[in-house]
């Protein structure tokens, strides 16, 4: 299975993950500072800044896009409970 590397900048941990993993599946396990609320892409608690490698995440769904817009999320931000890792290298940190 193709692998990707996601780095959680706030805690200095890089994790190699299988493609298709969502950020939420990794960030909690490594104790990164991204926090979660509804876990369903509605509440925007898990807003995450994508420092680099945003192109290596699957594009946001219509729902995620709407929630980002409603919450006035700056560019380059994603919901960690929704964002799915496709491959390559990604660096993230809590918004």
């Amino acid at each position: 299975m193709p692998k990707a590397k996601v780095t959680f900048e706030d805690i200095g941990v890089a994790v190699t993950v299988p493609a298709g993993t969502r950020l939420i599946e990794v960030s909690e396990k490594v104790g990164a500072g991204i926090t979660y609320g509804c876990r369903e892409g509605e509440c925007c608690t898990c807003l995450t800044k994508v420092v680099s490698g945003g192109e290596n995440l699957a594009p946001p769904s219509v729902l995620e896009d709407q929630v980002l817009k409603d919450n006035m999320a700056p560019r380059g931000h994603r919901l960690a409970c929704q964002a799915q890792i496709l491959g390559g290298e990604i660096v993230v940190k809590p918004a």
Binding site: V13, A14, P18, G31, Y36, G37, T45, D70
Partner: protein, 423 residues
């Protein structure tokens, strides 16, 4: 002097500005978490300009009749051009679907984050949604000679909250901030009974978890000329309204003067039946302290009360909890503290758990789950030690403390791990 709100009529605040809310004197428990000894009020307001009439907020649905009677005493539905929703919680939006039915021409002004809540609230009513306009700080509505200007004040106490300022009259319709659950038909702060306890209690239970947002809001409000603050609950503040803004600033500013401001702070809470968890706590504290840059404090949960510990926790950067396991659980004093933290903001603080056990040792994992549930980050796996910690195990406790200190002070070496290694 007649009691202002003991009639069905609206109550004048200023010429063309009226209170059209409702009294709920028999309420004793609000939103489950708040007590009130004399009920509450649901405050809604009407502002009349030369070319438009605005309704600001509504009331809880079961008090709709009072609201509509008062509203009808000062305005016809056909005149209403503007509905402002400062906060969409049902105690303020309960009469909204019916108001929209009676005044379908009105445009609704609300914060950006309120849009999805509005849709969710209006679901049962069905039909065509109203025309609504998301607004933010400095957006305004002209009512003809009168201007409503909006202030974006989110998270006070929901994401959607905003304030609305009537520029020409210096009246701030503040939503829940500066409110309290206090019902007195004399309505105005200079006429009602002493409600200061209620004002403070409301802040402590509703606004305190959002104190950073309170300070942002206060910074927006302080430059305004204020003659009246008209909150969504409790007395209308017209006697020295600025005092209440000042009080919010005081309340939201960190309560305990922290001389360790330049250092990070780690609080190690423990409770121990035979001294084993205490020894773990002491070793963890020593390990964290040894790294430098972290001020560590040890507290035995048997010697204090949850309220005091809550104050300490609000100011701290990191928390470690040590508990023995008794009958498969952490002990009650630990849960008492961990169930008292909804009144303060702990999101993003560092958390850890440890404990000695005799048989199965569930407490540590249960505490870690609770810390994660409270949105703390738990980057270092907790330590469970069977009965008496030996020298090597105490070294592991010191190491846990050191790792926490490294996380706290940003002295981490970047690690690369495989997801398969994660439990």
């Amino acid at each position: 002097m007649p009691l202002a709100a003991h009639t069905d009529s609206a109550v004048e605040i200023a010429p063309g500005v009226h209170w059209v809310g409702a009294l709920d004197p028999h309420l004793r428990s609000f939103d489950i978490i708040l007590k009130t000894a004399n009920g509450t009020t649901y405050n809604a307001y009407v502002v009349r300009g030369e070319t438009g009439v605005a309704v600001i907020d509504t009331v809880k649905e079961s008090f709709s009749d009072d609201f509509f009677r008062r509203l009808e005493s000062v305005a016809d539905y056909a005149e209403i051009t503007t509905i402002v929703l400062n906060h969409l919680e049902p105690d303020h939006s309960g009469a909204l679907p019916e108001l929209l039915r009676r005044a379908p021409q009105a445009r609704v002004y609300l914060s950006s984050r309120a849009q999805m809540m509005l849709k969710a609230l209006l679901k049962p009513a069905g039909g065509k949604p109203p025309e609504y306009i998301p607004v933010t700080t400095d957006d305004s509505v002209d009512l003809g000679g009168r201007t409503l200007r909006f202030l974006h004040t989110p998270y006070l106490h929901w994401p959607d909250t905003q304030c609305t300022y009537l520029v020409e009259d210096g009246i701030l319709f503040s939503g829940d901030i500066f409110g309290c659950h206090f019902c007195d038909p004399r309505l105005f702060s200079d006429r009602v009974g002493d409600f200061r306890f209620s004002f403070e209690y409301y802040y402590a239970h509703i606004m305190r978890p959002f104190r950073e947002h309170v300070l942002d809001a206060v910074a927006l409000i302080e430059p305004l000329e204020l003659t009246v603050i008209a909150p969504a609950h409790g007395p209308i503040l017209r006697q020295q309204p600025r005092d209440y803004v000042h009080r919010y600033r005081e309340l939201a500013t960190p309560r305990l003067f922290n001389e360790a401001r330049v250092e990070k702070t780690l609080l190690v809470f423990y409770i121990s039946a035979y001294g084993n968890t205490r020894r773990m706590a002491e070793a963890l504290a020593a390990g964290a302290e040894a790294l430098g840059g972290v001020r560590v404090s040890l507290y035995d949960l048997e010697g204090g009360e949850a309220g005091v510990f809550t104050d300490l926790i609000e100011e701290a950067d990191a928390l470690a909890f040590g508990s023995p396991t008794i009958n498969g659980d952490a002990v009650k004093p630990v849960w008492d503290v961990l169930s008292s933290l909804t009144t303060v903001n702990v999101k993003g603080k560092l958390g850890a758990a440890f404990g000695s056990y005799g048989w199965s040792g569930e407490a540590v994992r249960l505490i870690e789950d609770r810390l994660r549930g409270l949105k703390l980050r738990v980057p270092v796996e907790g330590l469970r030690i069977k009965l008496v910690p030996d020298t090597g195990e105490l070294a592991a406790c010191r190491d846990l403390g050191e790792q926490l200190a490294r996380h706290l002070t940003g002295r981490l070496e970047t690690r690369v791990i495989d997801m398969a290694e994660l439990a």
